[in-house]
Symmetry: C2
Subunit: 141 residues, 2 copies
DNA sequence: ACGAAAATGATAATCATTCTCAAAGATAAA
DNA sequence: TTTATCTTTGAGAATGATTATCATTTTCGT
């Protein structure tokens, strides 16, 4: 699969903006992450990115993920019962519901919880930098 | 180190209560978990349990942890930047603040957040089974 | 105490992730 | 655009955590 010029420009400027060198492997991976509607693991990202840029290797997928996480462009998750999964950072923060039956991951966000978290951290003498909230659930019915 | 008879009886009945067979290795590990004030990883538990029961192996530490987690007697955590860490389940649920500078883990709990979580899950058509909330913080001052 | 079923230690195997290093590629300056 | 420097890459080896294997030992209801 080939990515169009408009997508390519956006991705390239994201990378520049993140202060990292632009390579075709990085463009392919970030493109795939941007397009993903789920939360893939490293192997799955490798497969998908290989379709765009066959010269990418698994080592580079891991290296690039580390770089993008460092630059806060990508988030790493380690939900129960499995390896690390990744997603491109979005404008607004969100947390996750994990369906214990299907493994599906759904996003949600709660202003109230976010606010209380800040208060709790402050009360205990801490500045909240970031957080993770995972709700492990089963579908009703 | 040797554990006294009172401790031993308590641990043995915990194991019986959890519906698992009682072995000296399991007693040693659960004793160590019960005594721990921190959140050790498997190797650290292996070291500490070896002191009580030198015949225990690392494989048995992992196996027993799985058994105790299945029985809901132990919780597994995977905080950012490190392997799995374990703690004995307590009466009341709690969440964790992770000090990004020291790695120290502090427990807290918030009735309000717990309540909102249930509401959010219900709103989205899910039954909340359990959850994980981790606040990554830095000490103020 | 007996016997079926389960747990154990030692070690091999697996799995995800990181490291190594020579070659290729990206960037900035000329 | 050519060059010089510094970074990134692929391939595969290495690592580290966790799980599986299997012969032997232990548990526990009878």
């Amino acid at each position: 699969m080939k990515l169009n010029q408009k997508d390519e420009l956006l991705i390239v400027s994201s990378l520049r903006n993140a202060g990292v060198r632009v390579t075709k492997q990085r463009v392919a991976l970030l493109y795939i992450l941007d397009k993903a509607k789920d939360h893939p693991d490293a192997i799955e990202l490798y497969k998908r990115a290989s379709d765009v840029e066959p010269t990418i290797s698994l080592a580079t997928v891991y290296r690039t993920l580390s770089v993008l996480i460092e630059a806060k462009v990508v988030h790493r998750h380690s939900f129960e019962g499995g390896g690390a999964r990744f997603e491109k950072a979005k404008r607004l923060h969100h947390d996750h519901i994990v369906d214990l039956n299907t493994g599906e991951v759904i996003e949600f966000n709660s202003e109230i919880i976010e606010k209380i978290q800040f208060e709790i951290a402050a009360e205990m003498g801490y500045e909240l930098i970031h957080h993770k909230l995972e709700l492990y659930c089963r579908k009703i019915n």
